[in-house]
C-alpha cells in the first residue's frame, strides 16, 4: 500500500512537473512579462488591490 502511494505520488509529481515545464511555465512568464510592460493601472497606488 505504502509502496503504491510512493510510486503514484512520484508519477503525479512527474506529470505536474512535465505540464509545468512544457506548457504552464511559458504561459505564466508571458503573462508576468505582459503585466510588467503594461504597468499598474492609472491611479493605482501601492496599496491598491485591483490586481493590475
Amino acid at each position: 500500500m505504502i509502496e503504491q502511494l510512493v510510486v503514484y505520488g512520484v508519477v503525479a509529481a512527474a506529470a505536474g512537473w512535465t505540464a509545468w515545464t512544457l506548457v504552464l511555465r511559458g504561459w505564466w512568464s508571458r503573462r508576468a512579462a505582459a503585466r510588467k510592460v503594461a504597468g499598474p493601472a492609472p491611479g493605482c497606488g501601492p496599496d491598491c488591490n485591483c490586481g493590475s
Binding site: 509502496e3 503504491q4 510510486v7 508519477v11 509529481a13 506529470a15 512544457l22 511559458g26 510592460v37
Partner: protein, 639 residues
Amino acid sequence: MTAAVTAPQTPDLAPPPPSGAALRVALVGNPNAGKTALFNALTGSRQKVANYAGVTVERKEGQLVAADGRRMVILDLPGTYSLRARSPDEVITRDAVLGRLAGEVPPDVVICVADATNLRLVLRLALELKAVGRPAVLALNMIDIAERQGLEIDADRLSADLGMPVIGTVATRRRGIADLVSAVEDRARDGGVNLGEHGWTEPSAAEIRALHREAERILKAAVRPPKRPDTWTGRLDDVLLHPVAGVLILLAVLFLMFQAVFTGAKPVMDLITAGFDLLSGAVAQTLPDGLLKSLICQGIIAGVGQVVVFLPQILILFLFIILLEDVGYMARAAFLLDRIMGGAGLHGRAFIPLLSSFACAIPGIMATRVIDNRRDRLTTILVAPLMTCSARIPVYTLIISAFIPARTVLGGLSLQGLVFFSLYALGMVSALAVAWVVRKVFWRSAAEPFLMELPSYKVPDPANVLRSVALRGQIFLQRAGTTILSMMILIWFLCTIPGKPAGAAGPAIDYSFAGHIGHLIEPVLAPIGFSWQMSVALIPGMAAREVAVGALGTVYAVSGGEEATNLLGASLAHQWSLASALAFLAWYVFAPQCASTLSVVKRETNSWRWPIIMFAYMTALAYAAAFITYRVAVGLGAG
C-alpha cells in the same frame, strides 16, 4: 599629445547592496568589440564571450557597486553599427538608448564600447550617440592588442573631438575597469545636453555619410597606424580564405569534429555507463521486487542513464564550436560558406543561426534576430531545425551502433563515423534545398549583400572556453534531471500500468496504456516500417528528441546501466529489420520532434502560422523520407 592609452590595474569591486537608487548604464558598440567581456568584467557575471559577430541577442543585466558606494545596473545591448537600425536586435539597442523600449528604464549613461584595433565604424556610432545627447563614455577595449600592434591613439584628441571621456580597457584582464566606472560616475554627475527620445530622428543616408566623413577626420587626427603592420592575420587568411584550399580546410575541420564526437567520447561514455550499471545493480539488490523497484531501475535509472551517457559527445561538439569561435575562425567559415548559402537563397548571416542549430535549434532560431530582412529571417527559421541538433546524437548513436558494423572503410575511416557524418550532411543539404525552394519558388526577391568584419585571430582564453563548455554540460544535465527525468517516469507509468491480467499470454507491455496507444497509431506508421513500439517512442520524443532512446529502453523493458545500453542495441538489432532502422534514422533527420522548437518559432515570429507550416512540411518530409528509405531497403533485401 600623442601616446598609447594605458589601462591601470583594477581593484576588486564590492558586491552589490540589496537596495538603493541605482545608476543605469547601457553598453553599446559594434558587434565583436568585447561588450560581453566588458559586461562580465564590470558585473562579474558569467556569460558567453565569443569572438563572433552577433552573439549578443538576449537582454543581459548585471550590477556593481562603485568605489563611493553607488549602485550601478549595467545593461548589455546587442551589437550595432548604427542607430539607423535594420535588424530586430539593432532595433532593441536603438530603442533602449533612446528610452523607447517597453518595460526598460532609459539609461543614465551610455558606454560606447570600441575595439581599439578597429575604430573606423565605432567612431561613427559614437558620433550618433553624441547626437542623442545622453551622457556617454568611450571605452577603448582590447587596448593591449592595439599597443602590441603599434597603434598610437591620442586619447585627449579623441576625447575633445567626440565630446566624451575616453578610457582604455582590457576587459578580459579587468584592466581599466575602475577608471571606466569613475568616468561613468563623473558623466552621470555632469549630466548631458539631452536632446533625448523626443528630439531624435533617424539619420538619413546623407547624414550617415556626413558622420562617416567626420569619423574619418577624427580617426586621421587621433590615431596613428603602426609603422610595421601586423601581417599574421593577413598571411593566415591567404590560406584559410582561399576559394579552394579554404573550403577544403573547412570541410576537414568539420569532418574532424564529427569523427571526434563519435570516437573520442567513447572511454568517458564507458565510464558513465559503468557508473549507472553499478547504481542499478545496487538498487536492484537492495529493493524487493515490486512497483518501486521497477520505477527506479527501469524507469529512472535506465531512462535517464541512457540519455546522460551522451554528455561526453555533446561536450566535445561544443568544445570544437567554442574554440573555433574564440580563435576567430567562425567568421571566416561564414565568409567561405556565403557563396554556397547564397546559391540556396540564404543570407550570409544565416550561418551563425544554422551553426548554433547544431547544438539546438532554439538558440539558432533566436540568433536569427541578427538577420534584418524579414524573408531571409523566416527562411532561416524554417530550415534551422533541419540542422542536426545535439538531441539527435543519442538516437543516431543508438541505431548506428546497433545496425552499422563497427569496421573501417576507405583506408581507415570508421564506417559508423562515416554514417554519422552522412546524417549530418543530409540535414545540411536538406536545409539548403528547402531554403532554395522557399526563396526561389515562393519568395522571389533579390539577395541582400552580406557585409561582415573579420576579427583578428586570437589565442582563446582557456577559462572562457572551459566555462562555456561547462555551461553547456550543465544545461544538458539540468534537462536530464528535470524534463527528461519527469518524462521517463511518465513513460514508465504508461508502459507498466495497468498490469498484465491474470492468465494473459503476451508480454505485460501489450496490456499497458503505452501498448494501447502504440497499437492505435501503428496503422499510420506501418507503411514506413515502424512497429507499435517504435510509434510509442515517437510520442515522448516530441517533448525532447533524446527521450526517444530512453523510451525505447523502457518499452523493451530493459534495465539500466552499461548492460542496458548494450542490451537495448542488441534488442533493437534482434527485433527491428535493417530497413526499419534506416527508416527510423531518416524520420529523425527531418521530423519536427521537438515541441520547444515549435513554441520558440511561435514566439519569434509572433504568429502560429509559421510553427504550423514548419510542423506540416517537416512531418511530410520525414514521412516521405522514411517511406522511400524503407521501401528501397526492403526492395534491396534488407526488410
